[in-house]
């Protein structure tokens, strides 16, 4: 179970949290929990627990809140990012992360799971959705992610 899912789990958690150490910690916590109560259907279980842990962690640290505040600040022109830098390398990563943070928990989770190769049935199992709702969820999530990211690009251009 560990060999099979560890890397994928860490990658998803890293994308979700933006912090590799935290991702590894959370992944370990997931496997410890799996040791405690071996799940009947490990794949959706592991990722659902991982996403829940990441969400709880995020709430505790109010990281997302801080990021959103930063974003608002940018919208208000309070802190203009350096010209040209907004969408380059690290800045681009941050912009994607910020765009991801705009999504609802469920939309974000569906996107991240799809990126890990989950099919609709597995996404439905992990998120407690009806299988028929997964397409709609992904459609909305993809659109929102792209639009949120583009918005930030415009903000940076305006700031420039």
């Amino acid at each position: 179970m560990y060999e099979r899912y560890h890397d994928s789990l860490v990658r998803l958690l890293w994308r979700r949290t933006g912090d590799r150490d935290q991702a590894e910690d959370l992944a370990q916590e997931v496997f410890v929990r799996a040791l405690e109560t071996p799940p009947a259907n490990p794949k959706p279980w592991l990722f659902a627990v991982a996403l829940n842990l990441a969400r709880d962690d995020g709430r505790r640290a109010t990281r997302q809140g801080r990021k959103l505040e930063l974003l608002k600040g940018e919208h208000a022109g309070a802190s203009a990012p350096p010209a040209d830098a907004a969408l380059e390398s690290g800045e681009r990563t941050e912009a994607v992360r910020a765009a991801l943070a705009v999504l609802t928990e469920q939309d974000r989770a569906a996107l991240l799971l799809k990126a890990e190769g989950f099919d609709y049935g597995e996404i439905a199992a992990a998120l407690g959705l009806a299988r028929g709702a997964v397409g709609t969820t992904l459609a909305r999530a993809r659109k929102r992610l792209v639009e949120a990211f583009r918005e930030q690009g415009q903000v940076s251009h305006v700031a420039r």
Partner: protein, 426 residues
């Protein structure tokens, strides 16, 4: 057919529609400009979203291994090197092996430069050792001078370990970071005999056969699986006898509890779960234990230890489960298995939440047994052998020897999981 909704379009693009649904959707799209346009739009969102997620600066999984483990090994190496003169049993050789173990684990990964960390660690260590030496010396002076009161606060009796945490003397700031980062020297054993030359003889109980409950089956592999799940029924009957008769042996001690906090207790010849104690009192006990130099062992003789101290007790590199963070490390008397070097201590690394531990116990084999023909007295446990002991209540244990170490991995974990964990013991 009515228009195709966005969910169906995405399902179509993701290949999640069955043949009939896909055909129906495509027939409609072919005749509907609006749906065709939305399909193209969905295609664009899908591709761009995937590209954005991929841009999250995430290297391939192979490039991010258990970073914490290797970092810890290096930190330990520095600490070990820093106290080489005090403990010749773990000299530069041990430090070298520790260091390279961390470095070798993931050679493909460039990794950060640890030089500055190493220097910082050495400086911190020097300050810490100086401070602690000062504390210890002065503590002893005070004790000698009859200043018993101050010492009593500093060294509560073992039975009072969970008492008043406020009395714990200036527990180092690193205390809360877990056993691997416990301040070097804080809980260093005072006994000098541990660092002496190895005794070539085995433990007094060498003639007592420890393992009586196994069946053998070869699998044409470097490991020989013993008493797998199919053999579980055969192992069940002798189990109580083995546990009852092996109170002094690591297989049992590994799972038996110290009163200080292990969740499993040996009762009436069977290993049973004991109620987990409150985290508060456990933390208080740990704070006291880690702050008191060489606290007297209690119960089964195991007590919490820093990694560095455990390296000393074991006489070499500690094996850990790759990719997992230990809950704590304990050391106890080296009275364990018959073929072990009784001058060395048993180290157990404990993983998992209270109530469901996985315990990795280890002890150095006696010099005469460490070689190729050795390890035979642990019930013919030769190099590459893996002994699985199962019990009806779900407690499983794997034992094997590896490069001069006797190892035991136990827990209420399915045998297959235990085996996979054992594969990751490095």
């Amino acid at each position: 057919m009515s228009h195709v909704d966005d969910g169906t379009l995405n399902a179509l693009l993701d290949g999640e529609l069955d043949a009939a649904e896909a055909a129906a959707a495509q027939v409609h799209i072919a005749s509907c400009a609006d749906c065709a346009r939305r399909l193209e739009e969905a295609k664009g969102f899908l591709a761009e979203a995937a590209e954005l997620l991929g841009a999250l600066d995430v290297p391939a999984p192979a490039a991010y291994p258990a970073r914490r483990l290797s970092r810890t090994a290096k930190e330990v190496a520095v600490e070990v090197d820093g106290v080489t003169q005090q403990s010749p049993a773990i000299g530069a050789d041990a430090a070298e092996r520790l260091f390279h173990r961390g470095a070798r684990a993931h050679p493909e990964r460039p990794g950060p430069d640890y030089t500055s960390v190493a220097w910082a660690a050495i400086i911190v260590l020097a300050i810490g050792v100086g401070f602690l030496a000062n504390e210890v010396l002065h503590g002893r002076d005070r004790a000698a001078a009859g200043e018993g009161e101050a010492l009593a606060q500093r060294q509560p009796p073992a039975g009072a370990a969970s008492g008043a945490p406020a009395n714990a003397p200036a527990a180092p700031a690193t205390q809360g970071r877990g056993p691997e980062l416990a301040a070097p020297g804080v809980a260093r054993p005072a006994a000098g005999g541990r660092y002496g030359p190895r005794a070539a003889k085995a433990a007094p109980g060498a003639s007592v056969p420890v393992v009586t409950d196994r069946s053998v089956s070869g699998i044409g592999h470097k490991r020989i699986e013993l008493a797998g799940r199919a053999g579980a029924a055969r192992t069940v009957a002798p189990q109580p006898t083995r546990v009852a008769g092996a109170v002094a042996a690591p297989p049992a001690t590994a799972m038996s509890a110290s009163p200080a906090g292990s969740p499993l207790a040996l009762q009436g010849g069977r290993v049973q779960a004991a109620p987990a104690e409150g985290a508060g009192s456990s933390a208080a006990a740990d704070a006291v234990l880690s702050a008191v130099p060489a606290p007297p062992p209690s119960g089964d003789g195991f007590r919490r230890a820093s990694l560095e101290e455990a390296v000393t007790g074991l006489g070499g590199t500690i094996r850990l489960i790759d990719g997992m963070t230990s809950d704590r490390v304990e050391i106890g008397p080296g009275r364990g298995i018959s073929s072990a070097d009784s001058t060395r201590q048993v180290v157990r690394v404990i993983y998992g939440a209270p109530g469901n531990r996985v315990v990795l116990a280890q002890q150095r084999l006696a010099a005469t047994d460490a070689g190729a023909g050795g390890a035979s007295r642990e019930a013919q446990l030769g190099p590459g052998d893996l002994v699985l002991t199962t019990s009806p209540d779900g407690l499983n244990e794997l034992r094997w020897t590896d490069r001069g170490l006797w190892l035991s991995l136990s827990g209420r974990v399915p045998a297959d999981s235990l085996r996979r964990l054992a594969d990751r013991v490095r």
